[in-house]
């Protein structure tokens, strides 16, 4: 029989895994990487000693922060590569893209990622958590701000992301 902590981990994992993956997917737009991040987050949770009662908020915040770190690191790498090759359109290769999905979804995903990479961290976290179903109180707890302040963060973030989306669309 698993110990109390192990039992907590299993229960928390089955209750929260899908949500943790979904949060990372919203940031990354890629299921496989999101699943890898979920593994990383749950391993960190297992080592953390965070009580099960606080797991939901902790996992959500860890997922969004870890995924944002990946996006920002990747963006910096792409920018370095682009400078090296003097090709501003250079983007990371993705081997197995489905053409239909690419047309319908890929371009918007890239723009969302680009916007998330440049937003102030608190705005990006609020945005991802809210669009993953977190309440204002939950977001406020994750960020250490007031619930009222969450509305302001969301408003600014959504205006910036929309600008990124529609601005790119206009340039096509």
């Amino acid at each position: 029989m698993p110990s109390g902590r192990a039992a907590d981990l299993e229960r928390v994992f089955h209750a929260e895994y899908a949500r943790v993956v979904a949060i990372a997917r919203r940031v990354l737009g890629d299921a496989s990487t999101a699943e890898d991040i979920a593994q990383e987050v749950f391993l960190a949770f297992a080592r953390s000693g965070v009580p099960a009662a606080a797991a939901r908020g902790w996992l959500a915040a860890a997922s969004v922060h870890t995924a944002l770190n990946v996006v920002r690191t990747e963006r910096r790498r792409v920018e370095r590569e682009a400078r090296r090759h003097r090709d501003p359109a250079l983007t990371p290769a993705v081997a197995d893209r489905d053409p239909v999905e690419e047309v319908l979804r890929g371009q918007d995903r890239e723009r969302v990622r680009a916007a998330l990479a440049t937003l102030p961290r608190a705005q990006a976290v609020a945005l991802v958590l809210r669009h993953s179903g977190a309440s204002y109180i939950e977001i406020a707890d994750a960020l250490g701000v007031s619930a009222t302040g969450v509305g302001t963060l969301l408003r600014r973030a959504e205006a910036a992301v929309r600008k990124e989306l529609t601005g790119d669309a206009a340039r096509r």
């Binding site: 089955h14 979904a22 319908l104 995903r109 669009h131 509305g151 989306l165």
Partner: protein, 371 residues
């Protein structure tokens, strides 16, 4: 004049009950803030649609595999042991574009009392106008209470009963019928891009009792910087009993949970007073500060015979037209960008609604083939 902060406007979309009544009232009478609210909603809708592109539910097999992978990683301290291979995920084959105009779907459903259905998306539309546009006309109040708009109503009196209908998932159409006594809506045909088995949800008959309080109303109105007109004799302490439902909602979605078609069938709401004539109540609330007189007059016209259910339509964003479904007259609502359409009609004592990111012809075809 102090305008409503954009952060507050943003929260109104998600958690209207958490926003001060004074902000609700200000918004109801301020064109500038109303325009800002439209912009805030527009940005939110665009971002929500973009984020929905990355959504894809984890199935139980994937979760079990991930759990095994985590245990392996823990046992090997996360380094030496290679994790089992990840199962191959399904690929998308496209489908209908996400519903940026999902508000209309919801708008129709709120009228039919099946409001909680589609999403939190559309509720704020009515929240922002709850005091201004829907001042206790009989059916409006019932519909709004069904939609969980009691945060607004409670500013004018005491409200008892459920604050929102509890939509409950049921296994299938037959179960929905047993729970409600209604016939579950079954379309003959589905538009292109709408496929699969619908999700059936039901809600039971809801009863809400509203007791008008002149003291509460005066406080609410004063918070908005205005003065409550003297209530007519007998109104203070009078009671309205609002009933709606039961109802069935069938929703088809594409992967990621984006609705592609919603069909609702709901018993028509009713309102009963405890002695005061409804027109007296309606006239009084129509005259409250913050309610545009022209809008109040239109509401009075629409509901004059006490049997017509008004359909909220947002000026400049939606248009309506007439049609027929079987022998019943029907109202079709389309968003001005033609991204979303819905049709609503009453047949055999129930409100019926069909809506989705579809064309006018498509929703009418579904409606006309509905069993």
């Amino acid at each position: 004049m102090r305008h409503v902060d954009e952060g507050v406007l943003r929260r109104l979309l998600d958690e209207p009950e958490a926003v001060d009544m004074s902000d609700h009232m200000h918004l109801a009478g301020c064109d500038r803030c109303a325009a800002s609210a439209v912009a805030v909603r527009g940005d939110r809708d665009v971002v929500a649609a973009a984020f929905s592109l990355g959504d894809d539910a984890v199935n139980p097999a994937e979760r079990s595999h991930a759990w095994a992978r985590l245990q392996t990683a823990q046992a090997g301290n996360g380094a030496a042991t290679a994790p089992p291979p990840r199962p191959r995920r399904r690929r998308s084959t496209g489908g209908r574009r996400p519903v940026v105009g999902a508000a209309l779907v919801a708008g129709l459903l709120v009228v039919s009392g099946a409001a909680v259905a589609a999403a939190q998306d559309w509720l704020p539309i009515f929240q922002t106008r709850a005091v201004a546009a829907l001042p206790l006309s009989a059916q409006d109040v019932a519909a709004l209470n069904q939609a969980g708009q009691l945060a607004a109503l409670s500013g004018y009196g005491d409200v008892s009963g459920p604050t929102s209908p509890q939509l409950v998932d049921v296994a299938d159409a037959a179960t929905a019928e047993r729970r409600t006594g209604l016939t579950a809506p079954r379309p003959d045909i589905l538009p292109p891009g709408v496929e699969g088995t619908p999700r059936y949800q039901v809600f039971d008959r809801q009863t809400v009792v509203f007791t008008f309080s002149a003291a509460k109303a005066a406080k609410t109105v004063a918070a908005g910087g205005a003065t409550l007109p003297p209530p007519p004799p007998g109104l203070d302490g009078s009671t309205l009993r609002l009933q709606g439902g039961p109802g069935i909602l069938a929703t088809w979605t594409q992967r990621g949970g984006i609705p592609t078609l919603a069909v609702a069938r709901v018993s028509a709401p009713t309102v009963a007073g405890d002695g005061l004539a409804l027109p007296v109540v309606q006239d009084y609330f129509s005259a409250l500060p913050g309610i545009p007189p022209a809008l109040a007059a239109r509401l009075r016209d629409v509901t004059a015979n006490g049997t017509t259910l008004p359909i909220p339509v947002r000026d400049g964003r939606e248009t309506t037209s007439s049609a027929s479904v079987g022998d019943a007259p029907a109202t079709v609502v389309e968003t001005d960008d033609r991204a979303t359409a819905g049709v609503i009609w009453i047949a055999r004592g129930t409100i019926q609604a069909v809506a989705g990111p579809l064309s006018r012809d498509e929703v009418l075809a579904v409606a006309r083939g509905l069993h």
